[in-house]
Symmetry: none
Subunit: 205 residues, 4 copies
DNA sequence: GATGAATGAGTGTTCATTCAT
DNA sequence: GATGAATGAACACTCATTCAT
């Protein structure tokens, strides 16, 4: 076994802190998630936070990045493990909603009290996330067409955008406590929405 | 013209404060929206806030109520001024997204730092709002069926729920600053989504 | 029946307020007994307090005066209703301690946060109270000697002082400012009291 | 000479703060003795108070403990330096009254505005103090009997209690809640004290 | 590297007091 | 006479941040 390099040790510590930060911010939101809480959860001194990061904003940014990374790990692995357009489409809709619900939404609440520089970075992150999600969707639609399951009535580019934003809907119920109940309700509705998109509601000719 | 009664003057002042509160909370979120800021915007002393309200939470609750009231005023008037299922459906989808985007979302961010009693009231408010929105949708669907424009494939009850939550999607983009750009983008996508729901994406036959 | 004169009505109202003040201060102490509480208990507006009194201190002073007045009413009536030196002596010792315990002590806690003028008045009141108590005791001792129940071993003047201060000892812990003077006085009396107790428990001959 | 350990430095600082707190509370009482005043007197920032203590109540508790500690240091050293029952008895009576007068009494005024937990701790402290005082007295009486200076007419146990409470009578006026219980106890003791005084001044034979 | 100690700036809240009516 | 409305000044407490070690 090799020893960890200094560089690695530093990165490891940083990762521990970011993990703690993600949990604290997810639970309390940005304003109420304190540096002290994070330090305590990471089992380090409060001042040490400032050895690794420049400011609360910086820590928050890293926590958001981590949340995104995790999000795509989970979703892409899941989709890859399934077969066929319809199942994959369902997965691509259902999984994000739970994950976003658990981790992402409160994280975004910060924008208001952020210096402009960080807001820009935050939005860049978000845009990158959207792009990646759209790519996933686009790829899936192309597969669906290749399987001759769907047509391109609306243009897949546009469609990817729309479905992406629609999936993000979860964020509307920020931080309610009875998660299980609400999630069940949301997921049930999600099923219906999937059918809806697949078939539409207007009568045909 | 009669003079305003004392009662009216008081209510007017209260309304001014609540209006200020709504603006401040919408801009800064609950945690960072300070009583001092609200007082300043309402052009009264900080202590005066406590003559009219018991606590920051109470002020916030009133701001939320005001946001809801305005929301339904706007949307219901708009819908009433239009004719035909499709136009009304479009309106019922487009207007909320802008309004919610402007006023409601940040307001809900408070839940984490709220005493249980207020969280309950907040959720009751939210549920009441949803119900009213669902009623509007349900009524519209019935009209659409009466006009022989749509069928009841999914059950209007369920459909109302789904579309409601889907419309509320706006909340996912909490408080970004370049509102105009994003709103334009969102509304364009919204149009597509409307088509989507109306027609679906799967091939027929 | 005559109507109450304006003067009387005013005095009646004042009395109601002072009664309320006495209760509030007795329960909460000076610092925590608020003008608002008193006004509420007297069922008048808070601002009305300032029609009848100049300041919180003034209200407090009147409450203290009332407490003293009641104190002597109770004790003197009680003593008058009894016969014989020993019973009267017991009453004169027992009743004050309960009354002081219930009403007076917290009232005196105010001295620290009081303007000098009021402190002086407060102390004058206290001295007047002491004098009256001493008079009661002195009169009683003379009666006791007339009944041939006691001798004048210590001098009744001094004895009245001692017993009075011993009963009132409660009051001493109240942060008066001229500590040196009062302490000297108290300690001199203390000496006498010590002799008293020693002669009570020391073996004779 | 060795340098002070970090631990010691911290304790020293804490002690400085508590000393300042004791002085401020003694002068202004609990309600009017502000954290800001204490910090100023200890020459630290206001926020630093909260690095060392959890709350104003906690600071106050420590100030009370310090006052007690000092109290017994002073009194027990004094008594130990004297010879013979009578001198020691005088000291045991004289010193407390001055010390209590200077430091303890105002400190107890806090009870009204204290959370239950702290009131309990306060009363426990007080009870511990009383016990220690009673022990001192009891020991002294036994010495007095050994010296054949006094007899046990009233029982030393009871006598210790009485003299203690008599000295401490100051404390009784402090708004304790269980008035009935305490008053009954006090009045029973009062009876004994009355007998004591009567047997001191009544003619014999 | 890591942190204990320290704090300035700010927060929500209370309250005695004023004043126009 | 009486008071509703308004507020300045203060208070306990929090927290992101700094700095000497």
């Amino acid at each position: 076994m090799e020893e960890l390099s200094t560089q690695d040790t530093l990165e490891l510590k940083k990762a521990t802190i970011i993990q703690a930060a993600m949990e604290v911010f997810a639970k309390n939101g940005y304003a109420k998630g304190s540096i002290g809480d994070i330090a305590a959860k990471a089992e380090i001194g409060k001042a040490t936070m400032y050895y690794y990061f420049d400011s609360k904003e910086a820590v928050f940014m890293e926590a958001v990045k981590l949340a995104y990374r995790r999000f795509f790990e989970v979703i892409e692995n899941q989709v890859a493990s399934l077969e066929g357009f319809e199942d994959r489409f369902r997965a691509l809709v259902r999984i994000p909603i739970r994950y976003i619900y658990d981790h992402l939404p409160i994280l975004f609440e910060a924008r208001n009290s952020f210096p402009a520089a960080y807001v820009a970075e935050l939005e860049a992150l978000q845009e990158k996330g959207r792009q990646r999600m759209r790519d996933n969707l686009h790829r899936l639609f192309l597969e669906g067409m290749a399987e001759n399951k769907i047509d391109d009535r609306f243009g897949f580019e546009a469609l990817s955008n729309v479905v992406h934003d629609w999936m993000m809907m979860a964020e509307l119920n920020l931080g309610v406590q009875e998660k299980q109940i609400i999630m069940q309700k949301l997921e049930k509705e999600q099923d219906l929405l999937i059918e809806l998109v697949l078939y539409g509601i207007l009568k045909r000719g």
